[in-house]
């Protein structure tokens, strides 16, 4: 329990220099992707196409299995890695998302979708420096904006992180200067555009999240939504930004839009639960976490169910239950008894 909460704290509060003070079980630089061991789709024909379709339909757990199947058939399929990465992020499985997107970019270094998705995932895990660099790479590989980097040789070439010194103090200073430089480039790009570029605005929104300028980030995501009003990812990003800027009521509205468009969107369901906690609606929070967990469990895998469910959703569920003063439910969550909890909350399995 304590370890779990510490892990949560590590991810959510103590994202910067103090990270090293808390031992973490998962290395942020974990390179390996853990495939499901018993994948019914491992020889499936057209696994990628079907995985892509399932992902768009919002059947995330089966999309993950199909995309893993596609990769097992062709480990060099960069597009499969990309879609697996974005699907794992929607499935509230950030570590798997990061590893998949990094693998995609090894195979296809200028994949703009993967770069943007990676920047988002790195932001979520508090890896600001790497998130900034992913966005810089996005700009550099984007034919519309790469000219903005002319005359800025220090921002072009090998990833800046390889050149940075190891001294913590200089890294901190360097990190904030990189963030402001990348932000300036994105603003410059926005000014040159006559039409709103929703991807550019998404990048800006991420950058403003990195600098905790949540109201500006909200504006950026709203601008992107004005072009793509049916993009549930954008609605969720808007919601998360509102929530992290202490605007939980508005966040709930944004998540609701995302979930109307994509009912299987597990990350947004998780985020909605968190906003419910912040608003004191513990019962609703628990219901949302339980719904998210049961969606994850509905995959065709024969894997033990706890391996397909996200640990951080369980941890958040425990926090909500701990506030409800019902020790038997808290106990059920501690041993992972999803069926008992679903019944207690009158949720269909």
């Amino acid at each position: 329990m304590q370890a779990e909460w510490e892990e949560l704290a590590r991810r959510n509060w103590l994202t910067e220099n103090e990270q090293s003070q808390i031992p973490s079980s998962v290395s942020p630089h974990e390179k390996g992707y853990y495939f499901h061991t018993d994948n019914p789709y491992k020889d499936w024909p057209n696994a990628f196409e079907e995985g892509l379709r399932k992902s768009k339909e919002g059947d995330l757990p089966n999309a993950v299995l199909l995309l893993e199947g596609a990769i097992l058939q062709d480990p060099q399929d960069s597009e499969a890695w990309q879609v697996l990465g974005t699907t794992q992020a929607e499935n509230e499985n950030e570590q798997a998302a990061i590893v998949s997107l990094q693998r995609c970019l090894e195979l296809h270094p200028n994949n703009l979708h993967a770069l943007m998705a990676l920047a988002v995932s790195l932001t979520n895990t508090g890896m600001r420096q790497d998130a900034c660099e992913a966005l810089l790479r996005w700009l550099r590989h984007n034919s519309k904006y790469r000219h903005l980097l002319k005359g800025k040789p220090h921002l072009v070439g090998s990833p800046v992180s390889q050149r940075r010194t190891s001294r913590a103090s200089t890294v901190g200073r360097y990190e904030s200067s990189l963030l402001s430089e990348v932000k300036e480039l994105f603003l410059e790009a926005a000014q040159q555009n006559t039409d709103t570029d929703p991807d550019l605005q998404t990048g800006l929104g991420v950058l403003y999240n990195l600098s905790a300028e949540f109201n500006k980030a909200v504006e950026a995501f709203n601008a992107a939504l004005s072009v793509r009003p049916d993009d549930y990812l954008l609605w969720n990003r808007l919601g998360a930004t509102l929530a992290n800027g202490d605007r939980s009521e508005e966040a709930v509205e944004a998540y609701t839009r995302a979930l109307d468009l994509q009912p299987g969107f597990i990350r947004s369901r998780y985020n909605l639960g968190i906003s419910c906690i912040n608003l004191g609606a513990h019962r609703e929070a628990a219901s949302n976490f339980l719904t998210a967990l049961s969606l994850q469990r509905k995959s065709q895998s024969h894997q033990l169910s706890h391996q397909v469910m996200s640990g951080n959703i369980w941890a958040a569920l425990r926090i909500a239950l701990s506030m409800m003063d019902q020790p038997e439910l808290f106990q059920a969550a501690s041993i992972g008894d999803l069926d008992l909890l679903m019944k207690a909350f009158n949720l269909d399995i």
């Binding site: 510490e6 949560l8 509060w13 103590l14 220099n17 979520n124 929104g205 998360a240 004191g280 958040a316």
Partner: protein
């Protein structure tokens, strides 16, 4: 990502100790200490600041022992350092006297003070009205020095100090504080509407009597003589639910008479001043945390108040406990939303 914003309410010895503990131990917390009164106008400033204690009825004794030990160890270390005079922390030897032989001859803190022993008959001859006594060396902590010294230490640890009256916790929540540490003492009665908190009025005299080197305390807590750096403190009174902050002439007379009975030379001492403090009393000191919805936000509140007359005695120990509670709050904060 932003720092964790911590507000500490109260600038008495408990509030300042707690703020220092948090600011020094948790560099990613921005600590703001806020109070409407600062030294020399706090209740702590009236306290003689001698480290002795009577236990709270319903709290585990081990916990109270830990608080006492941590506080005296912390202060002994200061007394043994070059900071001692600036911090106003000194060793003080003397006697605690009893008219009857007490049931419990060894107070719970006896092993933490220095050289605790039963007084010899020879020593007791100095006090013909008392049958029994204990001799020991403890610490005296002069809050008029110690509080400004703590404040300096807080600022050095990047803590902010703000003079303002906090009327309710909601205003702090709305201002974005994530964790509120309530060290408001008697103020908790209104701040968190704790009806258990009540004043126990204490009046003391400050006299000039530099020839006195030993403290003398009657075990009933009604009469005490504490030599300090600047003057000798004579006490006292224990008037429950008495809110008068003005000195009472009758009380002064009584204090002087009782102390002269213990130490006749005091009849020649010049009275320098009279002070009154309202001890923030509570059946049990409250060192615990809770989560409250304030201004539509979930906020952690760590309470550290209700020390009664033992604020200095338990200050560092309870501050360390409060720090531990703040630490757990950090781990319990609802997770951040994900983009």
């Amino acid at each position: 990502m932003k720092n964790v914003e911590v507000a500490v309410v109260g600038a008495g010895v408990v509030g300042l100790s707690t703020a220092v503990c948090i600011a020094e131990a948790l560099p990613y917390c921005s600590v703001t200490l806020m109070a409407d009164r600062f030294s020399p106008d706090t209740t702590s400033d009236v306290a003689a600041g001698i480290l002795i204690c009577t236990p709270f009825a319903d709290l585990p004794l081990e916990r109270q022992q830990k608080w006492f030990k941590e506080t005296i160890d912390h202060l002994l270390a200061i007394a043994q350092s070059e900071e001692a005079s600036e911090a106003g922390v000194l060793l003080s030897s003397g006697w605690q006297l009893h008219k009857e032989i007490p049931v419990d001859k060894k107070p719970f803190w006896s092993e933490f003070v220095l050289g605790f022993r039963t007084m010899t008959d020879h020593e007791l001859k100095l006090f013909p009205n008392h049958k029994y006594g204990q001799a020991f060396t403890t610490v005296k902590c002069e809050c008029s020095n110690y509080l400004p010294w703590l404040e300096k230490r807080l600022r050095k640890a990047q803590g902010q100090v703000v003079k303002r009256k906090v009327v309710n916790l909601q205003e702090l929540s709305i201002q974005g504080y994530d964790i509120i540490v309530n060290c408001s003492g008697l103020g908790a009665k209104t701040l968190v509407e704790d009806s258990q908190v009540h004043p126990v009025r204490g009046q003391v005299l400050k006299v000039q009597a530099p020839w006195l080197q030993h403290f003398i305390r009657d075990g009933d807590g009604q009469s005490y003589i504490y030599p300090g750096i600047h003057h000798v403190t004579l006490g006292g009174t224990r008037q429950a639910d008495d809110w008068r902050l003005e000195p009472d002439e009758g009380d002064s007379q009584g204090i002087l008479e009782r102390c002269i009975r213990l130490e006749p030379s005091l009849s020649r001492a010049r009275v320098l001043g009279v002070s009154v403090g309202l001890r923030p009393s509570r059946k049990n000191v409250r060192v615990e945390k809770e989560q409250l919805f304030l201004g539509s936000r979930l906020v952690h509140v760590v309470h550290n108040y209700g020390h009664g007359g033992w604020g200095v005695t338990l200050s560092w120990g309870t501050a360390l406990d409060a720090l531990g509670l703040v630490r757990t709050c950090l781990f319990e904060r609802p997770p951040r939303a994900r983009l």
